[in-house]
Symmetry: C2
Subunit: 126 residues, 2 copies
DNA sequence: ATTTATGCAAACTATTTGCATTGCC
DNA sequence: GGCAATGCAAATAGTTTGCATAAAT
């Protein structure tokens, strides 16, 4: 199952990297379609999933609302505006040992964690 | 807009309280339908939302997968099995002042946070 | 030549909503 | 009796998938 280098694939990767905010699949699609009107939504979804599977980008599964895609760098947390739904990075150190605070694991094997802050962004607050 | 006391409403509340795990709307519906075959999915959804709006239960919006409903007690964190998708409570103190660790809020008004641990539950690990 | 990837549309999951009807209060 | 709540079905949002065709290797 060798990966091939298609125009669509590289457009998806390039677009996720260019979009500073954490774009949804639809936002990636909308951006690409402006220049390449023949790309399909299905292809965008397939490539976003493939690229996040191989670690080129990261899929951020958000509670309520669409998944968002991020060009990884380091582990970090996010905050979501409860009014507009947009997602932003939070400037806070990653708590690598958070799992050690768990009192009883009940046999559960922990592999990581996400923290999602909730709040109102400056634009929605004005 | 006075709330009325319908059979369906009390069945939904009773069922959420009875189901120990964090049930999805569908699991609540399936449970009720066994005894009351005439209840509709729409009514279950409407009542789950209404009950969580008035604080009788809590809606847990999960990244990927259906929302889950919980009969509140106190603020607490959750963990989700990456294999079966089920959600469990985590025995860990709530970090009330977590927001104070954020270095620069960029004008964002924080109102709370969720922590979702990821891992593999004992059943899926065997 | 092979076989992955694409475009398209249909299917799917989770949830909401419009509307006529039912049934609390 | 009035208005909230229900059942039903259709609509919606986000995403996946089957299939014939196109294109990368």
């Amino acid at each position: 199952m060798n990966k091939r280098n298609t125009i669509q694939r590289s457009l998806v990767l390039k677009t996720v990297k260019e979009l500073q905010f954490h774009a949804t699949a639809d936002e990636v699609y909308d951006t690409i379609v402006k220049k390449h009107s023949d790309i399909s939504r299905g292809t965008v979804y397939r490539n976003l999933n493939l690229l996040s599977d191989i670690g080129e980008i990261r899929k951020l599964e958000m509670p309520s609302g669409a998944d968002r895609f991020d060009h990884i760098c380091h582990e970090h947390y996010h905050t979501r505006c409860i009014k507009c739904g947009r997602v932003f990075d939070v400037e806070m150190d990653f708590i690598a040992d958070l799992e050690t605070n768990i009192k009883d694991t009940h046999g559960f094997k922990f592999t990581g964690h996400d923290i999602i802050f909730k709040g109102i962004c400056p634009e929605c607050n004005s």
